[in-house]
Amino acid sequence: MADLTLRRALPADRERVLRWLQEYGVYAGVALLLLVNIAFTPHFLSAENFRTQAVQVAPVVIVALGMALAIGSEGVDLSVGSVMALSTSLVALYMGYGPWIALIVAIVGGAAVGLANGSLIAFIGVQPIVATLALMVGARGLALVLLPQLEDIRDPGMATLGSGEFAGVPYVVLIAVALALVVAFVVRRTTFGRQLLAIGDSRPAAKLAGLPVRRVLIVVYVVCGVLAAVAGFLATARLSASDPTSLGSLMELSAITAVVVGGTPLTGGRVRIGGTVAGAVLIQLLTATLIKHDLEPSWTQIAQAVVIILAVYAARERGKR
């Protein structure tokens, strides 16, 4: 959007500070929170505590990876929380055939929602926020139609996946890290990644340059749906229960927050995977810090709101060229 108001030229110092904040602010924030906690929070420095925090943040990271791709393409996916719910319902229904079949069915379900999102956006030209809003309502409803109430999952394989660990690191965390590495590689090193960023930068230009815009957009939303489904599967394993009513609720907000706080501009064209992971960790640490110091959980929501505004403000000067 062209800016008609005469924008004051930024003093060089301020520009440099903002740029630094956008690039590294999230890492500085994480480091700061860690230091504050080490200094002031009793029992913070324990392997047990770190493990708990990491396990809690893992599903957010996985969902946020897909969200980063959607936002990088100048879109957004509001349906990810509902896809987690759909995933957990499908897992409960197909657990009888074993965890692998349940996982595959859940992934197919997530991919189907992503395909619907992507088709509405790429072929019909519906705005991403509206298309994924419709699927958000629909997918949560479908999840509840399939599984009307909470159901316990009693499967030894799922229990191992949910609470087991390798070399002291929980499986769930390992999976999140592996997925983050794969997505970072795809964004940085593959043709698909370059096409995605070009489309996010300017869709008309990408179209003129002959890029397969529709195919890329559909893949983005399918990947988003699949990652949300995987997160739903892992959350089910960790909780040993399927709860389509509450699983994934407000997850879209957490994921968008992680992506934005991590320095990915909402205007598309750039994706920062390391920042996204750090953004999720930052929000998790902030919540944990406030709770450990006996502030009511409601204050964490207010704090999260302030962090979002600050992050977007820092990013705004350098959104798009």
Binding site: L120, I129, L133, A134, S249, Q301, A305, I308
Partner: protein, 339 residues
């Protein structure tokens, strides 16, 4: 009527002057504007023939009053969407308004009304200033406000554990529960607000600015429209209306219920879009949003009447319905934009 973004002058006059040349174009314009009304009449007719319990006075009254609160929220959302923006915080602001009103009712009706209006208006104002002055994305600003407003609500109710009841026998409760000529007071208030909203949008300078800003912000600025002030006012108005709807709802329910409002922003956006307002901004009208709310409520009511279908199906049907409407709208808009 032209919705094209590069013709802000035509847009500024709103939807009732069709400038389309072809007959097909005029028909698709009509379909986009009044398709929801046709659907509403058709569904209501079929439902009253199919279910004896649908067209009863009690059921219609119930639908009207329960639609009123969402309709007031959708009214403010219409203004926001016409400017090309969006407000995701209305559900939280609605609940906050309800809790504040119920708490305030023990100090009299005036406090019960003014307190939520002041606080919720402030939320709207801050949204508006961040969006208009700092040029932050409406989507993300109001998302933060959604978290913030719910956080404030939870902190004043001790994490939702405290429920404030509306003071017994107060005039404030009558606002929600009273009747005038056999029709619930909230319905009258909603009707009055929609008339006022329609006049504001169609007959005032401010209304013209709202259309102009949504049609083409840069052109509106060049024409001398106060873009930032218009946007700030629109979000403030939206906060006020959402807070007021919450207060009215608390008067109706006799208490500020802390678990309401989840997904209300989506329902309001859906109603506005179904009512023919384009999410890309620049066109729309408040009457359509009212029809959109009624359509959503009638569909929910019909699903309830079928009985065997539970609320989960309501969501599937609402989501599917929204998809159909959005596809139709996008298709119609594109058809009319083509030369």
């Amino acid at each position: 009527m032209t919705v094209v973004k590069d013709e802000p002058v035509a847009v500024a006059y709103g939807p009732e002057e069709p400038a389309g040349s072809g007959r097909g174009e005029r028909l698709s314009a009509l379909a986009q504007q009044h398709g929801a009304l046709v659907a509403l009449i058709a569904i209501a007719a079929v439902a009253s023939l199919s279910f004896d319990s649908f067209a009863t006075t009690g059921n219609i009254e119930n639908m009207a009053v329960s639609s009123a609160f969402l309709a007031i929220v959708a009214l403010g959302m219409t203004f926001v969407i016409i400017t090309g923006g969006i407000d995701l915080s209305v559900g939280s602001v609605f609940v906050l308004g309800g809790v504040l009103a119920a708490w305030g009712s023990r100090h009299g009706t005036l406090v019960a009304l003014l307190l939520p209006l002041a606080v919720c208006g402030l939320f709207g104002l801050v949204n508006g200033l961040l969006i208009a002055r700092l040029r932050l994305a409406p989507f993300i600003v109001t998302l933060a406000a959604m978290l913030g407003a719910r956080g404030v609500m939870l902190s004043i109710t001790d994490e939702g554990a405290d429920t404030y009841l509306v003071a017994e026998g107060s005039f404030f409760a009558d606002l929600g529960q009273g009747k005038l000529l056999g029709i619930g007071v909230p319905v009258w208030i909603t009707a009055a607000l929609f008339v006022a909203g329609g006049v504001l949008l169609r007959r005032t300078r401010f209304g013209q600015h709202v259309y102009a800003v949504g049609g083409n912000e840069d052109a509106a600025a060049l024409m001398g429209a106060p873009v930032a002030r218009t946007k700030t006012l629109v979000y403030t108005l939206n906060g006020l209306l959402a807070g007021f709807a919450g207060a009215l709802n608390a008067a109706w329910l006799d208490s500020g219920v802390t678990i309401l409002g989840y997904g209300m922003e989506l329902e309001a956006i859906a109603a506005v879009v179904i009512g023919g307002t384009l999410l890309s901004g620049g066109m729309g009208f408040v009457g359509g949003s009212l029809v959109g709310v009624l359509l959503l409520k009638v569909i929910q009511n019909v699903i309830n009447q079928i009985g065997s279908l539970d609320s989960a199906y309501q969501q599937v049907v609402s989501g599917g319905f929204l998809v159909v409407v959005v596809i139709a709208q996008t298709w119609l808009a594109r058809r009319r934009r083509a030369p």
